[in-house]
Amino acid sequence: MQRTSGFNVVSVALGLAFLYLPIVILVIYSFNASRLVTVWGGWSLEWYRQLLRDQAILDAAWMSLRIGALSATAATVLGTFAAVALTRSGRFRGRLLFSGMAYAPLVMPEVITGLSLLLLFVAAGVDRGFWTVTAAHTTLTMCFVTVIVQSRLIGFDRSLEEAAMDLGCPPFKTFLTVTLPLIAPAVIAGWMLAFSLSLDDLVIASFTTGPGATTLPIRIYSQVRLGVKPEINAICTIIITVVAVGTIASSLAAKRGAVRRAREGLGVQV
């Protein structure tokens, strides 16, 4: 029996208000006509116009999108492999070290990860820039993919894979044609999370970047340190909108996919 008490409703409502109010205020202020952030001067798109003329911000955004897409893709492949290894490979030599390394970046303070990766790149004599940030973000985000994919792998019926293998399907083909479609929603969710984490990261990117590879958070951070600016409100509003639309659309798609699969599943059984 579910019972909804007043206390429960109030605590959820207050918590959500706390989470959303600052974001809503930020969005409203981005349409403020006044240069002074705190004085309301009517609605205006002025700051969005200014933003489109700010080449440095646009370049940084493009840089972040490229790093995000590339590192998320690499992290998804590596993270999915790691998840499969941890759930399907049973015991193998060095498993303890492997699982330790697979989860640790989840909670590792960013300053430590950033510093250690920078020192690695210096020791290896690599020029810092696009590729070093991409490698750093791949390392940071693959563990999130691992956790998401692993929880999905544990939840599903292994007999399908075994049936395919028993019928002579080679293991790699089994993975591609049976396992991968089943875990696809988790793989996609993992990619999206990796992408948004990469887009978001300031600390690790600051350590591992070099000349000519300024990402959007680094650019925003250097502006924010000088004080609140309406243009920053505008770029933040754009990012929030894109992320919100992407998240809602993908979760709706996942839901529809789940419903369809459930129907097909029933059809097979009948």
Binding site: M1, N8, F18, I23, L78, F98, Y103, S116
Partner: protein, 306 residues
């Protein structure tokens, strides 16, 4: 038709282990060894700015000479200088207090979601997760809008005649706590919800039928069953907050720094790589136990350890 043949573990399943394994060794393990090594080096006006530099070409003699030049100077410095010690303590204090506040705010929220109608729960969970997907930096920045001297909070408080003159919210510990609690709330609510949602609430009805008051049933049934979620949420907040840089840098004052800021300053402003590395190693040592406990909980949640 022959009987189905068990196919033995194939070669490319080894590759599935090997590729991520090698990546993590190269980009996670090796970097730590390098940090450890540089924390034992000395600062130098050179490129890279530390000595000794390991010269593998010099062979065994080079290695011996390298080993004799290693020093514990950086550790002696962070152990003796008040600045570093107070940074570590401040970080632990901020992480501890804000984790407690997060539990106090997050528990009722997670409980409320877990007891809401089944159909509503996915939507509520998504509403909690959504801010986590939007940029961390943006969410901290949003609070500067609100907390600055002529910002919204002071305007509202003055309009309500609660205060007469604007309060300097920014550059204070209060602002750090607001920023930390705000940014980490989803990390607390989600594991708590996951454990609260699994509880069989007919247990509470049974307790009520047997005459237990509601608060007592909650304390003796619900709380113990949600302890694992609470522990996971607390660690998921406590560990990263201890090393937090962005929040104290943007919202906090300049009088006392958290250890993440101190490391950042040593590295970027003072260009003292050995001291920055020693701070990182000491921070990691400080967090090793919480990290190991967290990993154990994570593996258990995922069903690896019974």
């Amino acid at each position: 038709m022959s009987a189905p043949v068990r196919i033995k573990r194939p070669g490319n399943s080894r590759l599935v282990v090997l590729i991520p394994y090698l990546w993590l060794i190269a980009f996670f393990l090796v970097p730590f060894v390098i940090v450890l090594k540089i924390s034992l080096s000395q600062t130098a006006m050179a490129l890279p700015p530390y000595v000794p530099v390991l010269d593998l070409a010099a062979g065994w003699e080079g290695l011996k000479q390298f080993a004799t030049q290693l020093t514990l100077d950086s550790y002696a410095l962070i152990g003796s200088d008040e600045l570093y010690l107070s940074s570590y303590l401040k970080s632990l204090e901020v992480a501890g207090v804000s984790t407690a506040i997060l539990l106090l705010i997050g528990y009722p929220m997670a409980y409320g979601i877990a007891r809401s109608p089944r159909g509503l729960q996915p939507l509520l969970v998504m509403l909690v997760v959504l801010p986590f997907w939007t940029s961390f930096l943006i969410r901290v920045y949003a609070w500067i809008n609100i907390l600055q001297r002529d910002g919204l909070l002071n305007d509202v408080l003055m309009a309500l005649h609660i205060i007469d003159a604007p309060i300097a919210w920014l550059a204070s510990d209060t602002a750090i706590y607001i920023g930390v609690v705000y940014s980490y709330l989803p990390f607390m609510v989600l594991p708590l919800y996951a454990s609260l949602e699994r509880i069989d609430y007919s247990l509470l009805e049974a307790a009520a039928d047997l005459g237990s008051p509601r608060w007592k049933a909650f304390w003796q049934v619900t709380v113990p069953l949600s302890l694992r979620g609470a522990a996971a949420g607390a660690l998921l907040c406590f560990i990263p907050v201890t090393g937090e840089f962005v929040i104290p840098d943007l919202l906090g004052g300049s009088r006392s720094m958290m250890i993440g800021q101190t490391l950042w300053t040593e590295f970027f402003s003072n260009r003292d790589w050995p001291v920055a590395s020693a701070i990182a190693v000491a921070l990691l040592a400080l967090l090793l136990v919480p990290i190991l406990v967290y990993e154990r909980l994570q593996k258990r949640a995922i069903g690896e350890v019974a």
